[in-house]
């Protein structure tokens, strides 16, 4: 399946782009599995603190990522 990703803040330096796509061999993965896939593709993510939102909602590691969703990778906020 294909998922669309958006990275924010310092993570855009790691992913190289604010918006990108990821081809995943399975038709569904958990957020925990997605993190491993991302780490394999972007080793510089190692040790970085970030939260994951799926379709504008923060999700836990057990959350099921399905085709067509939009995933946001968000480092600690620094507004204000």
């Amino acid at each position: 399946m294909q998922v669309q990703l958006m990275s924010y803040g310092a993570l855009t330096d790691v992913t190289g782009s604010e918006v990108f796509e990821l081809e995943i061999s399975q038709q569904s993965v958990t957020v925990a599995e997605l993190k491993l896939i991302l780490l394999a593709r972007y080793p510089a993510l190692e040790g970085k603190t970030f939260r994951i939102a799926v379709n504008e909602r923060f999700v836990v590691d057990e959350f099921e990522v399905l085709p067509g969703v939009i995933i946001a990778l968000m480092p600690p906020f620094s507004g204000g």
Binding site: M6, G9, E56, A72, P76, F77, S78, G79, G80
Partner: protein
């Protein structure tokens, strides 16, 4: 559709002091207000390795930020008897010395206005998906970090 649609809080570039003065003036019609508490964040020309911050470039996950702000508003109005609450946050470039955040809480009595304003500022810093990129000379930059 709910009529409690999240309000926009974002402006492109800095918050204008003239606009702030006008906002204050508009509240003079509300003669049940006794106290206003305002917080403004201003971009500091912090020095890092001898180089000064020239500006901060703000980006946000706008949809999520507006939803989070909406939740904060609802919680604040449930907790404090406020007359009104206005929030403006910059997106894009804000130069050193310019204002990037404006929080304006009004109430009948001072305690509520002051406490609500402070709580909103703390929650904005912690809960809104907004990021600042501190820009130096020669295309150098570093990502802003908020202290706890």
């Amino acid at each position: 559709m709910s009529d409690k649609k999240p309000k926009n809080i974002f402006v492109e570039g800095p918050v204008s002091p003239v606009k702030i003065g006008e906002d204050i003036a508009h509240h003079q019609k509300k003669s049940n207000i006794g106290a206003h508490s305002i917080f403004m964040g201003q971009v500091r020309a912090d020095s890092v390795d001898g180089e000064a911050v020239l500006a901060i470039e703000y980006t946000a996950h706008q949809e999520m930020a507006l939803l989070a702000m909406h939740e904060i508003r609802e919680a604040i109005f449930a907790k404090y008897p406020l007359t009104c609450l206005h929030i403006t946050h910059s997106l894009g470039l804000v130069k050193a010395g310019e204002i990037c955040l404006f929080v304006f809480a009004s109430a009948v009595h001072r305690k509520e206005a002051i406490d609500a304003c402070e709580e909103v500022v703390e929650r904005i810093k912690k809960e809104l998906p907004i990021w600042g990129k501190e820009l130096f000379n020669d295309d150098q930059y570093q990502w802003k970090e908020n202290k706890g």
